[in-house]
């Protein structure tokens, strides 16, 4: 309620963040793992009988690496930051105010890795072999250092540990329960991705024997990571908040309306993609000379899908929070939600961006939708509200809003009965139903129970009413 909502039609602000983020995560991991790849390849090339030819290939790899990681990696990294400002200003504000110097330290790493990479690349033909190996090594260590820093902030969002808004304990927040498993998962994943990037550059080699040797070299980067990730993933799983585990388990056994939850689907997607990468790499290892550009790009696309699954899992695992236990996805602070007077009082009196709309109108309902729902849901696009409320009746919505928080993936509703009625009327209007919000107030509803989908009055949905947020957008 502190900030306006970036109301992006059918796409939703959150999806804009996700699109930029999954691109960035792949590239940024290649950017770090590729550093280690450069070091080892520098040393390896000097032990080969045709070392110069290997170094020429390495120069091609370094050119690809430089352009790919700086143009797409650096800019999409900034892009995440830009998009999060638009999608969740309250959350990025909290993170920046708490971790500004951690971010500033990460920037020092970033400045250093960029500069070292330029010295490595532009000195490729002039530096001594020892200097090149040193620069590649320095690049890797610094780039990994930037991961060490940013990982603390990323994992803080899901598992803030002993950090609270009262104690503001930066060490507890940074070295939170998810920190070390996530760091190790990302580290081995980046080696794996460096090998995949190596496949792509190697696929362009015309000499089949030489290509075979380079492919075999790259295979050694993929397999260890692929073996280690599941075990580390389990370790990470043990650090997850109980609510996340519940959603995951719920999806696994299909309790959510007989379907998998989105969270579970994303976990499965990551697992399937990882398995496919292992199988693909084994095929590459068996038939290295046949690897072509399309196959190599396909492997990177599969990796992109895996990263999409893992990152969506991490994001969805936080539901209904953006910072677990501290700040809800729609910008409501948990500390404020604990105050019944604040939570249940008239909403428009507290909201800042409603523009003075009249109470009890559809415009009122739209403002409530925008300020409380639109940070996660669109009207009829990604995470569609129209779809999710397709079975709602005029009488059902208000009671459901009152209990939605109990389902575990939605924040509590902020506002009084009129706010709920206005929102329900607005939601119904999206599918063409005209209802006066004042007719939905509890006293008027007492006489109209017949069409209710919630006969026991518990607020629990009948089958077909998915838990909002548990479905990927339709």
């Amino acid at each position: 309620m502190n900030y306006p909502i970036w109301d992006v039609g059918g796409l939703g602000a959150g999806l804009v963040v996700a699109i930029i983020a999954i691109i960035h995560v792949l590239i940024s991991h290649v950017a770090v793992g590729g550093g280690a790849f450069l070091v080892v390849a520098e040393i390896w090339s000097r032990r080969q009988p045709d070392g110069q030819r290997v170094r020429d290939w390495l120069h091609t790899f370094a050119t690809f690496f430089l352009v790919y990681t700086t143009v797409l990696g650096a800019t999409t990294g900034v892009g995440i930051w830009f998009s999060v400002q638009l999608a969740s200003a309250e959350a990025i504000s909290l993170l920046i105010h708490q971790f500004v110097f951690a971010w500033a330290i990460e920037w020092v790493f970033f400045l250093s890795e960029l500069t070292v990479l330029y010295l490595y690349y532009y000195g490729f033909k002039r530096n001594t072999p020892r200097m090149q190996t040193f620069l590649a090594g320095a690049y890797f260590v610094i780039a990994w250092g930037s991961l060490v820093v940013i990982n603390g902030i990323l994992t803080f969002m899901l598992t803030p540990g002993a950090w609270t808004i009262e104690n503001k304990d930066i060490a507890a927040g940074f070295f939170n329960p998810g920190y070390f498993p996530a760091l190790l998962i990302r580290t081995v994943t980046m080696f794996l991705l460096a090998g995949l990037a190596g496949f792509l550059v190697a696929s362009r080699i015309r000499d089949e024997e030489f290509k075979g040797r380079i492919i075999q070299f790259c295979v050694k980067w993929v397999i260890p990571g692929a073996i280690l990730v599941p075990g580390l993933g389990y370790w990470y799983f043990t650090t997850l908040p109980a609510s996340t585990v519940t959603i995951l388990a719920g999806g696994t056994v299909g309790v959510v309306g007989g379907t998998l939850s989105a969270l579970t689907r994303m976990a499965i997607l990551a697992g399937v993609a990882g398995t496919s990468l292992v199988l693909g790499t084994l095929v590459f290892a068996a038939y290295p000379k046949t690897v072509n550009t399309i196959a190599a790009i396909s492997m990177l696309l599969v990796a992109q899908l895996g990263i999409m699954g893992a990152e969506f899992f991490r994001e969805m695992g936080r539901k209904p929070y953006v910072i677990h236990g501290v700040l809800y996805s729609n910008g409501l602070w948990v500390k404020d939600a604990k105050d019944p007077a604040r939570l249940n009082g008239p909403y428009l009196e507290k909201a800042k961006w409603h523009g003075g709309v009249a109470s009890g109108t559809l415009a009122h309902g739209e403002q409530v939708f925008r300020l409380q729902c639109a940070s996660c849901h669109t009207r009829d696009g990604y995470r569609s509200v129209v779809y999710r409320t397709r079975n709602w009746t005029a009488g059902f919505g208000s009671r459901w809003l009152g209990t939605m928080h109990d389902m575990g993936v939605m924040p509590p509703f902020q506002g009084d009965a009129l706010d709920k009625a206005a929102l329900v009327a607005y939601v119904l209007s999206l599918r063409g139903e005209t209802v006066d919000p004042r007719d939905l107030l509890p006293d008027r509803q007492a006489t109209a129970q017949g069409d209710d989908l919630d006969p026991d009055g518990s607020g629990q949905a009948l089958p077909g009413l998915e838990v909002a947020g548990a479905e990927v957008g339709r």
Binding site: G79, W107, N127, I170
Partner: protein, 390 residues
């Protein structure tokens, strides 16, 4: 649709009737150090960002000009600028991160609000930067950079760069104009807005771009010195002629932008800038150091001495830094009715601030040492290449 129009009408009416401004509350975590330190860090890094941005803007325009004129030595200077562009763009982006970080700590509630209201152009910055950065690399790596298609790409990249600057100026000016927020939000909650009615908008845009010619001029002055030192006298003199012309053009445009912005400002703000002690001091210091820089560029022409371009670089840094600080002084004045830095609590993180200082110093020392080991060899290699081609 009718509902949306009705909403827009209601919100616009609310704004027109002077309903309370929707100013977000400051972050409950407060400032991690006293704001003066964040301001200092912001000024320092924003000055570096502006220098890298100016180098990129000036270099791409001069590169395109040289590619069209094609006089003797123009091609080699054009190649120098072309090779410089991906590097300067890298540092433009990299040095842009910390000032954006610090401005979000200091003025987050205003900055986020304006960013959301300009959501569409603001997020468009990212694909534009990807495009221009990629284009600069492409024109460096492609075998025939003078192909008309590649030149067209460079023109488009230059336009993308100018657009990015325009969107930034839009955001910064809107962030200090909360009285416009509800009106824009009503007009387009999806953020398809621009702050076009700000009287200083175009003047501020010119103000940040104009020094591009001057900064690129200094970069060319460096090359000219290198040519003179390597005995390529004619080429060195050619470079220095262009350097001086570019530096003068940049300063003239900057003076025009300065006068324009002062005349376009509201009276009370202009009076503050021209009469308040600190603002007047910063404006005077910036103007004086810029003049010193220009004189050093003049004095350095045709001389095979690193001292002049080095001192000119320092002078322009010292000219830009006070102007960056002045920009903040103006912002504070504009926001005074709504917000004051002094009212935000400080929850000090001295340990983290110290750690950052250690990393920053260590990082800079490390990079300096590496440069001393690597760069002389790169320059020697370039010298050999140039001699061969000459």
């Amino acid at each position: 649709m009718r509902l949306a129009l009705a909403m827009a009408g209601v919100l616009a009416a609310a704004t027109a009737s002077g309903a309370g401004l929707p100013m977000p509350s400051p972050d409950p975590l407060g400032y991690p150090v006293p704001p003066i330190l964040l301001q200092a860090l912001s000024y320092f890094t924003l000055t570096l960002h502006f220098l890298a941005m100016n180098l990129t803007v000036g270099s791409v325009v001069i590169y395109l000009w040289l590619t069209i004129t094609r006089k003797q030595y123009d091609d080699r200077l054009a190649r120098y600028l072309r090779d410089l562009l991906p590097l300067s763009t890298s540092y433009l982006i990299t040095f842009g991160i910390p000032p954006l970080l610090f401005v979000q700590v200091l003025y987050g509630q205003m900055f986020y609000s304006s960013s959301i209201l300009l959501g569409f152009p603001w997020i468009l910055v990212i694909p534009l930067v990807v495009f221009l950065y990629g284009a600069f690399y492409y024109q460096k790596l492609v075998k025939n950079p003078e192909h008309p298609g590649v030149l067209l790409l460079s023109v488009l990249a230059a336009m993308a760069l100018l657009s990015v600057g325009f969107f930034f100026v839009n955001n910064i000016t809107l962030s200090v104009s909360p009285e416009k927020w509800m009106g824009l939000y009503a007009k387009s909650p999806g953020g398809q807005n621009l702050n076009m009615d700000d009287p200083t908008l175009f003047a501020r845009w010119l103000l940040i771009l104009a020094p591009g010619f001057t900064v690129a001029g200094v970069a060319i002055l460096f090359r000219g010195v290198m040519m003179l030192k390597w005995g390529l006298t004619e080429e060195g003199r050619h470079n220095h002629r262009i350097a001086v012309n570019a530096a003068v053009l940049g300063m003239l445009l900057e003076a025009v932008a300065g006068i324009w912005i002062l005349s376009a400002m509201p009276d009370d703000l202009r009076s503050h800038v021209t009469s308040a002690g600190l603002a007047k001091l910063l404006l005077g210091l910036g103007t004086a150091m810029a003049s010193v820089g220009l004189v050093l560029v003049f004095l350095g022409r045709y001389k095979a001495s690193w001292a002049y371009p080095l001192m000119a670089s320092l002078a322009f840094f010292l000219a830009l830094a006070p102007l960056v600080a002045l920009r903040d002084v103006v912002r504070i004045e504009q926001l005074r009715p709504h917000f004051s830095l002094e009212n935000v609590p400080v929850h000090a993180q001295w340990c983290m601030a110290g750690l950052f200082a250690v990393f920053l110093v260590a990082g800079l020392v490390f990079l300096l040492a590496l440069h001393m080991m690597v760069v002389p060899k790169l320059i020697a290699g370039r010298r050999a290449e140039l001699r061969e081609s000459a």
